[in-house]
Symmetry: C2
Subunit: 383 residues, 2 copies
Amino acid sequence: MSAPEAQRSAPLRALRPSAKVLPEHARSHNRSLVLQNLYRGGLLSRADLARETGLTRVTISDLVAELIGDGLVVETGQREEGRPGKPAILLDINRAGHRIIGVDLSDTGVFRGAVLDLDGGIVTRMEAETDGAEGDEVAAIAVQLVRDLVAAADAPLLGIGIGSPGIVDLAGTVLSAPNLGWSDVALQQLVADATGQPVVVANDANAAALAEHSFGSAVGDFMLIRVGRGVGAGLILGGTPVYGSRFAAGELGHVVVGTDGGDLCVCGKHGCLETWLSVPHLTAGLAAAPDAASRDAVLRRAGERLGIALAPVVGALNLDEVVISGPVELLDGSLTEAAIETFRARTMAEFHGDLTVRMSSLGQDIVMRGAAAMVLSGRLGVS
Amino acid sequence: MSAPEAQRSAPLRALRPSAKVLPEHARSHNRSLVLQNLYRGGLLSRADLARETGLTRVTISDLVAELIGDGLVVETGQREEGRPGKPAILLDINRAGHRIIGVDLSDTGVFRGAVLDLDGGIVTRMEAETDGAEGDEVAAIAVQLVRDLVAAADAPLLGIGIGSPGIVDLAGTVLSAPNLGWSDVALQQLVADATGQPVVVANDANAAALAEHSFGSAVGDFMLIRVGRGVGAGLILGGTPVYGSRFAAGELGHVVVGTDGGDLCVCGKHGCLETWLSVPHLTAGLAAAPDAASRDAVLRRAGERLGIALAPVVGALNLDEVVISGPVELLDGSLTEAAIETFRARTMAEFHGDLTVRMSSLGQDIVMRGAAAMVLSGRLGVS
DNA sequence: GTTTGTTCGTACGCTTTACTAACAAACATG
DNA sequence: CATGTTTGTTAGTAAAGCGTACGAACAAAC
């Protein structure tokens, strides 16, 4: 869900400077590998981990000892099985011992946040009305919400994740978010200073995509289309989010779709994807429709436009899946069906026929949970 | 340039199995790091490399000794400068001591190959007519061409790179290339068995994109559009090629563009990108045009369609650059101009205004040179 | 009840890797 | 000629993972 405007001089993403790699980096990679296996499967023994990772039992024991020392892993008892041999000591991530804070700044008029457990489950919810505030004022509201959440956490925090609208660079600075009146707001720094916790900030659609990747059922390469006040997308290729050279990847809302005009958009163009698909336009269209059939036509038209926009992107990237996130009552059903039909009619089944298009199952909390997934990914290397 | 059909049950790209990392992997990474710096800058001393990479002089000396032992690096004499201190011994990649073989199978009726030096310069050219052969027969022609090139090489080979039309998986098997009558042809294995050399096979558009990345002026994230008998694309994000989940990334030729119909395509749909942009369609359109003005209109219409197709892709990925490769007399000029204009009219300048669209400067040899770049990348880690 | 085989986790020593510290060689400058 | 600088190399050290070996704990077979 993106802002209609962004600053022209956004910094270029630094090209991978090809840094040296030391053995200790390998160590930290293997540490993450252990955590990933524990995170997914859970309840594995050291010997299981050795088999799973290819590392030796000795190395695994060493890594696990380190992780237990850091409080990230706990022994949860013995495996009770009728197998011969010494019974295994089961390990798991210290799920009860840590919490994550996830915040969603993308809603209109309200900031939503939560204390989450390591599985993305919500422990405590909080909201803060923004009352049309802008700039520093609304930033202060966000910081206060995070402070309240930190105070409400019932276990040590792993970190704080924030999904913000607009363009966000890799340092967690919101380069531009017109809806909040933000321009070059160093949100990550701001919240880190206020709480002393590790903070990750990313675009809300990217966060949502990560949630679908971590907690939803998305596998492989996929794009998440987020429909709300605007239209934005988050993209995950090979397990890694795509940010774009100027951090504006997924800014699809103001791309013109089709060659037959369309409504005038706030950006000045006609036929932007937002003029077909955004929630305000959809609800307006539905309200103006006299009967059920024409309401269905509104939804189908929007779905068709989505399919038209998807075709070249899926063609270029050969995606596995497109996930749609937003109000179910609007998006599920005719709209999604029309999108699929249109997409299929416009691409070659041999290349892209196995693409699946579906609604997200994560509902309203998708950004908060995605923000939590960002923390998991950053702190544990779990993806 | 891709095949109109591909098999339906293409294998899914294996998802990163999250392998363990050993210190020796770090070593090989640092080895590549040294080679990359030498490859680009050239003529650096060990101390220079240490400063450049952040590794110590000791480690660099060790790595360089290994690389000299492998014949990949040579000392090229002392630096003659009026600086105090011991004069530096300059190093460079052993450019004269190695050759690469690059092959382009994407042309109609002829396979083109070359012996190249490490900078992508062409030392010896060869061609082989295919005379409409198909299947195993045409594969044998390709293998023989490679054999002849190997025999013609005047220095030890670093490896063999092949750019093939169609869908190619990571193991170098051509899953599908209708123009050649290929289906599941293990080309890499075939050529490796015939020559005993390291072989890399990839889609021709991906190879071309890599050439533009390595030898051309493309920086950052970009897409290369290859216009020939068909239309295909190669995509490089963050310095790495994008293959797609079923290796069909870049298969844009049979995506329908626009919402106002279009000519009937061989695939059965109307208005595929190929029906606007491919060389056969362009030349046919130009031949049918009565005067210069209407010939220009043909080119502009094609450019517009390209711009329409580009808009959602660039929007989703926030690319820096789009490079077009193909017959200059058709593509450069009105067509490219129209593509740029159309693209700008359909996206937000604030997000994607700094996109550049231009012709490739690598000409006809782009695929062969890209194939050589694949070898460089695979064998030296140079990208 | 004992033996056998299996599995688990750990102790020890070794190899690889890159680092720090120190030093000789070679040059410019005063 | 003495001094300072830069280069490349020679030790010795710390980290990481491996292979081997071993004790502990259990099931199954006799």
